[in-house]
């Protein structure tokens, strides 16, 4: 288990060992969806948001 810092809130995100590039995980502190950009060392970025259409 390694850790990375969440780009949104700065919280620690525990990463499992079988992490793969492109995977989406969420930060346990802020819930942000993070994309694994690189695995060694692990780099996370904010995942592109799925916009919810609420009808306007």
């Amino acid at each position: 288990m390694t850790e990375a810092e969440c780009v949104e809130c700065g919280g620690d995100v525990a990463l499992s060992d079988d992490l793969e590039t492109g995977e989406i995980i969420d930060c346990g502190t802020c819930g942000a969806e993070l994309e694994v950009i690189d695995v060694n060392p692990p780099v996370l970025d904010r995942a592109p948001e799925l916009e919810e259409d609420w009808g306007e």
Binding site: E52, D53, W54, G55, E56
Partner: protein
């Protein structure tokens, strides 16, 4: 009646499309000629809208439009801009309920939406809300029905501009609460009954697209936040307004009476006794009425303005029919005279 007008509803299986059909059904001057749905093609209107079971009409495909006097489009944002030529071929008067023709310029669509594919129509389209655009509606070919949250906000604030209490550079916070029908008939997980019941859920904390409409009509940059609450119909806007100088309750009454006293669909509710002292969405549920009210908070130099509408009516289908009435020279209130229920639950 000899002068009956024929009407089509594109997107007739949706929520606002259903409301349009309901209104057209009992409107003294309109006759339903067509209602489209791809998903429910050939099914009866009543199979989707249980209140229309008495109608012997079936949905048809939107690619097969009949020639009518008025075409109402109640489709998601982006659909009408694709089909506007076809719509205009089918009908002299097109009333669109989406955001596609509400804003004046391509730039606004670039900023707030994903651009526009036929900006040449923007100039000729007229905003539907008669309270702010009545004079330009008669004879209009293309009418853009307003956004529900924008409508609630504009109706609440406009008298303050008319009366010179606001000029456009003041700070205004608009805190909106809306029902689930605002999301339309096709919902995801967040709109399931189990997840959506009982919420006070911030769904658009910042950057809501209706800010664009508000700015366009009031010249005001609002701080806008929208919450989902547990009702199906209704939009309620609380505007916290910080005017430059002191404003009395008398000034407020003067402003609102001046703007709305003769408006057939506006009610002023500001204080008084009983249970219903300020605007409430459930007091206007199912109606084309807008309620506005206010209070003065001298300790904070603040005005609080409340505004309540039914998002499916004054906020979309009712506004669209109201505008069509004005555009075609019919009685303004034709088909829209229902004044609401008491008591009523969470409509």
């Amino acid at each position: 009646m000899t002068n009956t007008l024929s009407a089509a509803v594109v997107g007739g299986s949706g929520f606002t499309g259903g409301e349009l059909l309901r209104l057209l059904d009992t409107h003294p001057e309109f006759e339903i000629a067509q209602a489209t749905s791809r998903e429910y093609d050939k099914k009866t209107l009543g199979s989707v809208h249980p209140n229309l079971r008495h109608l012997d009409v079936r949905f048809s495909d939107p690619t097969d439009l009949e020639s009518v006097d008025v075409l109402f489009a109640a489709t998601p944002h982006g659909v009408s801009m694709q089909h506007i030529d076809t719509f205009q071929d089918a009908a002299d008067t097109v009333v669109d309920l989406s955001a596609d023709f509400r804003l004046n310029s391509e730039e606004q669509y670039d900023e707030w939406y994903d651009g526009h594919t036929c900006p040449e129509y923007l100039e000729k389209s007229e905003y539907a809300l008669p309270e702010i655009n009545r004079e330009n509606l008669p004879g209009a070919d293309l009418i853009a029905s307003g956004g529900c949250n924008a409508t609630a906000t504009i109706l609440g604030l406009k008298p303050l501009f008319d009366a010179g209490i606001l000029e456009g550079d003041e700070q205004v916070v608009v805190d909106v609460k809306v029902g689930s029908s605002e999301g339309g008939a096709s919902g995801g997980k967040a709109s399931s009954h189990a997840e959506r019941s009982g919420v006070v859920r911030p769904y658009a904390p910042t950057g809501h697209r209706h800010e664009a409409e508000i700015e366009q009509f009031l010249g005001l940059d609002v701080s806008f936040t929208v919450h989902a609450v547990d009702m199906v119909r209704g939009a309620s806007a609380t505007c916290h307004v910080f005017p430059d100088g002191p404003v009395s309750k008398g000034d407020m009454w003067g402003a609102y009476r001046e703007s709305y006293e003769d408006e057939p669909f506006m009610r002023m509710v500001a204080g008084g006794g009983g249970v219903y002292r300020y605007p409430e969405p459930k007091a206007v549920a199912g109606t084309n009425f807008g309620e506005v009210g206010f209070e003065v908070d001298p300790s904070n130099k603040r005005l609080v303005v409340f505004s309540a509408i039914d998002n499916m009516m004054k906020g979309s289908a009712g506004q669209a029919v109201h505008a069509a009435n004005v555009a075609l020279g019919l009685e303004e209130t034709a088909g829209l005279d229902f004044a609401g229920f008491h008591p009523i639950g969470a409509p």
